[in-house]
């Protein structure tokens, strides 16, 4: 493929610029504490809602098979229910998926 260097660079600048503005503007614009109770409550729930939507159902399709992913999810829930750290939970889930893919028929 013939590569047009300036086109690639300009495209990357556009991607990076759009992404950065979306991240930077709200953090710098909203500097005072928002007093409205609904807005404050809404913003307090946003992180949980974002994470839930990103995790479910995508986690089930993240590995080579539905079964290994489900086992990994179960391991993650169990470990975090027991109050383990983020790192332990993440590594535990990885280990379970790895073992499941080795031991279970594909």
């Amino acid at each position: 493929m013939e590569l047009d260097v300036s086109r690639v660079v300009l495209s990357v600048v556009i991607m990076a610029g759009v992404t950065y503005l979306l991240r930077m503007l709200p953090v710098t614009i909203f500097r005072k504490k928002i007093e409205n109770r609904f807005v404050r409550s809404f913003l307090a729930y946003v992180p949980y809602a974002v994470l839930a939507a990103m995790t479910i159902p995508d986690i089930f399709f993240a590995t080579a098979s539905l079964v290994s992913a489900a086992l990994g999810l179960a391991a993650a829930i169990l470990l975090s229910y027991k109050g383990k750290s983020l790192l332990t939970v993440a590594l535990g889930a990885v280990a379970v998926v790895f073992l499941a893919q080795r031991l279970l028929p594909a």
Partner: protein, 235 residues
């Protein structure tokens, strides 16, 4: 919070994010090399964008000869959720933090860094956030490099197992407050439910992941804010 402790705490909290990023950016590097992009361009994308879905989509468009406007709009739609998270994060930062510092640190406001920062008790300092961003950024850049070069010979089973690391971390962030706080439990269920509807109902499955996340987050958070308004202290 004591200042001297916060940077190293940030670093430590960034380790699981870094591990998850290694696997995702590794995949990105492999994909971009297969598509025919030179190493410098691939590395430039990862180090200036620091976002998974947005940069996968943008790179695909570059490779297929997409127009500039198409690249801009696609990136905008997929990454619009960051504005929602940015407003949330703006309320979590120390009010005394100067604008330039906010503008600088906002570069690192990825889904995962946002989630971990918001999970902290009380306000978040610039030092903590800087520490938190550091390792994931290095992981994102070096994972891309590994995936894009000859070192990209990770066994498939190991690579696919690593893919679950990010989600495992999300679960670890969600479960403790779900146990403790009913409203959080319900918010998570509502959001996950809507997300499944978008995925599995054929008429709705055409929406891009960016729109779906925004819709789920807005709907579930608004519902919870009406049903369970938070008090002055616990927001």
């Amino acid at each position: 919070m004591r200042q001297e402790k916060t940077f190293s705490k940030g670093l430590k909290d960034g380790i699981p994010i870094c591990l998850g990023y290694l696997s995702v950016s590794f995949t990105f590097g492999m994909m971009a090399v297969k598509g025919g992009l030179p190493l410098w361009a691939i590395q430039l994308i990862s180090m200036t964008n620091l976002t998974s879905a947005g940069q996968f989509a943008g790179t695909t468009l570059i490779l297929s000869g997409g127009a500039y406007l198409e690249i801009a709009v696609t990136t905008f739609v997929i990454n619009l959720r960051y504005t929602l998270m940015g407003v949330s994060l703006s309320q979590k930062l120390e009010p005394s933090m100067p604008g330039w510092k906010r503008a600088l640190l906002a570069f690192g406001n990825t889904d995962e860094i946002f989630a971990v920062a918001m999970q902290q008790k009380g306000l978040v300092s610039g030092r903590y956030l800087l520490g938190l961003i550091m390792l994931p950024y290095i992981g994102w850049a070096s994972g891309t490099l590994l995936g894009a070069t000859a070192f990209g010979a990770l066994p498939a089973s190991a690579a696919s197992a690593l893919n679950i690391a990010i989600y495992g971390m999300f679960v670890a962030i969600l479960v403790p407050p779900m146990r403790r706080l009913r409203p959080v439990l319900f918010t998570v269920c509502v959001s996950a439910g809507i997300s499944c509807i978008f995925r599995f109902v054929p008429a709705l499955s055409g929406f891009s992941s960016g729109w779906v996340i925004i819709f789920c987050a807005v709907a579930a958070s608004a519902w919870a804010a009406v049903r369970y308004p938070v008090g002055e202290e616990d927001a």
